[in-house]
């Protein structure tokens, strides 16, 4: 059951984050970023689901997980991904009042790239941790 919640939370958090990132990188410019970013609230809901379901899954096999290198890489990527989401939620959200209807400035695009670079490999390493 927890494993299902974990897949749902992943789809919600990573799916919405990457769509926001793509918008910042210049895709779907017809969607105003200042409005789209409000979906970050839903994304955090997915993150919360995964924090709880992940903690629950962790407790079942904690000694195995803490010595698992791929798992620890995944957790690091998740923490970094969450930091980029927090930056989007706070700093970028405030700034977007000026450019939210159009293209994002370069420093914001860097945040968007970092977000993608953290979240997608977090999925890859999370999945591979089950095999390696």
């Amino acid at each position: 059951m927890m494993i299902t919640f974990h897949a749902i939370g992943m789809g919600v958090m990573v799916g919405l984050s990457v769509i926001l990132d793509a918008r910042l990188l210049g895709w779907f410019l017809e969607i105003p970023y200042s409005a789209l970013q409000r979906f970050l609230g839903v994304a955090w809901l997915g993150f919360g689901i995964n924090f709880l379901s992940g903690a629950s899954l962790f407790t079942t096999q904690a000694p195995d997980y803490v010595v698992h290198v791929i798992f620890m890489v995944k957790m690091s990527l998740v923490v970094l991904g969450a930091i980029t989401a927090a930056v989007l939620q706070n700093i970028v959200a405030r700034e977007s009042a000026t450019w939210g209807q159009g293209a994002a400035p370069t420093n914001v695009k860097i945040i968007a790239w970092l977000s993608i670079i953290f979240w997608v490999p977090a999925i890859v390493t999370g999945r591979l941790a089950a095999y390696i």
Binding site: G11, I31, R127
Partner: protein
């Protein structure tokens, strides 16, 4: 049922069957892609369906159509990788009720989309970009999310439910 069995036997003679099973990396790679596709599909659907239901009306209704290609490409990734799993071990899936529950969810989601596209969307496009959406549109949005989260859940639970899973 001989046709049904013949198709499953034939699947196991194809090159896809061998590529997926003969290399240690094939299955984990397909699964990882399946999870990435899942995320893209859920993300795009959440924005489109929640807007349809009536959230974030500051976004023009037409504008969220820009996310349709994300949903289509994500679904295509999952259709292809999913076919890879089924062709590799057909009976593991066809013998599992959770697999069929997932397929029914996807088929109904397709039907829901067809109904929306034919009967509901033309009316929406005549209304203003920020107009409240009618109850039929809200129902289509809720149905879509319920069915896709259902497909995701039955898929993820597949190895744990039914008897054919592994």
């Amino acid at each position: 049922m001989s046709m049904y069995n013949a198709v499953q036997d034939w699947m196991q003679t194809t090159w896809v069957h061998h590529v997926v099973l003969d290399y240690a990396w094939s299955w984990p790679t397909l699964e990882t892609l399946h999870f990435i596709g899942l995320s893209g599909l859920i993300g795009a659907l959440l924005v489109m369906d929640l807007r349809l239901i009536g959230f974030e009306r500051v976004i023009p209704l037409r504008a969220v159509h820009a996310l349709a290609p994300v949903a289509i490409v994500s679904f295509a990734i999952n259709l292809i990788t999913g076919l890879g799993f089924v062709i590799a071990v057909p009976r593991m899936y066809t013998g599992n009720w959770s697999f069929w529950a997932k397929m029914i969810c996807i088929a109904l989601a397709g039907l829901n989309f067809a109904l929306y596209y034919i009967a509901i969307e033309p009316k929406l496009l005549k209304a203003g970009p920020a107009a409240p959406t009618p109850i039929s549109a809200k129902a289509a949005g809720v149905t879509s999310l319920v069915l896709w989260f259902g497909a995701l859940s039955f898929g993820r639970l597949l190895p744990y439910l039914g008897t054919g899973g592994g």
